[in-house]
Symmetry: C2
Subunit: 230 residues, 2 copies
DNA sequence: TCAAAAGTGTTTCGCCTACACCCATGT
DNA sequence: ACATGGGTGTAGGCGAAACACTTTTGA
């Protein structure tokens, strides 16, 4: 007679934000339990009649009051049986991007606090959450090369230098400005607006907008976004 | 008072095999239950104290008597709440490759029958298994371009034309023989043996061997396998 | 007029592409 | 000698890489 399965299933979200040439990850401070007051990834148990994706969306709303811009499944963590010291819990981790307008947070019902951490600031976290974050960062880095997801971290209208700096920051390397601009614009997925952004200093910049529909259209025709660096 | 979570967690495996210029997927015939006598992907419920990966390995052993050559997590299917009409079941799907020596199967304890199906032969399957297979096929196709996994579908020693035909077959396109050979050999991850394979007809071929250690070594140094076609 | 960031072209180099004939074996 | 699959080289084109000065603004 086999024992009845007794495994819990949870979702966790790694939410990235970008501002001022810095990449951030969203963490929440736990309100209850053995990890009270510890920072952890937002997430929680899936409800019986709830799609996994909905569980993530709900948790992000409940715990941090945000709605994300991009969401995809990252990986399911279930090989380490003791990853949660209390019960056997399998976690389906999701990878999410928000743009800076959403960087305003409020700790909602389920969290004591919410905050953005740069990668360096992230402390040692409970469970395998540091590992999950590492995996998410790798995914982000590699996706930048073959999917135009950088724009989901930027506001709707942005100066070209924003996307350039975003690549430099996240990939942590220098990029030839001229070649990068030429390549990126050659895809024809950015719409040049006639708005201008003035900075405190330096020449004002034209604002661009990511043309999602154009991108989807090109993709249908077999186009593949790809950007590489020397 | 929240209801207790009542979700089952299962693993499923999509095992690919290759022989005679044909790609196969492994299916088993169910022995019990409402889908008795139906073909389905090998898999089953995860045990309470069992790592996900071990669950897959165990199921493949129990249901098909095989050990695979390559195994990676594919995707977790849990958005469709009714994917299993009986209970809420979330399935963590794995993607596996075997080489033809392992194409010998035996229906073991838990399955009534086991067989290899070409993609065309696969019938309409219960659950979302057709969808899972589609996703796995896409993963296989795209991975061939940037990871040397084709060799996990071939025997240890193989004539060069085998890998070339494998690419042609799976990607379903023609490939320039000379350019393909030049590129593949230029990576320096194939060891030329001094064995020769005689065929029924035509000139005998040198046998090659995939040099896994060399590949790992190069990868450490920042090398990235990548093969493209016009 | 200086500082700071935006904007812009050309040459060089290496890689991918296209392409066809000879070789070794069995029948 | 013929059929079958194995094995090989080169020229041209195209895109990636390297590289620095001018423009516009605010202080």
């Amino acid at each position: 007679m086999p024992k009845i399965q007794n495994i819990k299933i949870a979702v966790d979200a790694i939410v990235f934000g970008y501002q001022n040439k810095q990449l951030f990850v969203l963490l929440i401070k736990q309100k209850y339990g053995i990890f009270e007051n510890k920072w952890v990834l937002p997430g929680g148990l899936v409800k019986n009649e709830e799609a996994l994706t909905n569980a993530v969306v709900r948790e992000l709303k409940e715990e941090a009051g945000i709605t994300v811009n991009y969401l995809e499944q990252l990986f399911t963590f279930g090989d380490d049986i003791k990853r949660d010291p209390r019960n056997r819990v399998i976690s389906v981790a999701y990878f999410a991007l928000v743009n800076p307008q959403k960087l305003v947070l409020k700790a909602d019902t389920d969290a004591k606090d919410v905050a953005w951490f740069t990668l360096n600031e992230i402390p040692k976290l409970p469970f395998d959450h540091n590992l999950i974050i590492t995996k998410a960062v790798n995914r982000l880095k590699s996706k930048l090369h073959y999917q135009p997801i950088g724009f989901d971290l930027l506001p709707k209208y942005f100066p070209f230098s924003d996307i350039e700096n975003l690549y430099k920051t996240i990939l942590n390397r220098n990029i030839d400005r001229r070649n990068f601009r030429k390549k990126m614009l050659s895809f024809d997925i950015l719409k040049e607006t006639n708005q201008i952004q003035k900075n405190n200093t330096g020449r004002p910049a034209k604002l661009f907008q990511f043309n999602y529909n154009k991108y989807k259209e090109l993709e249908e025709k077999g186009f593949h976004f790809e950007i590489k660096f020397a």
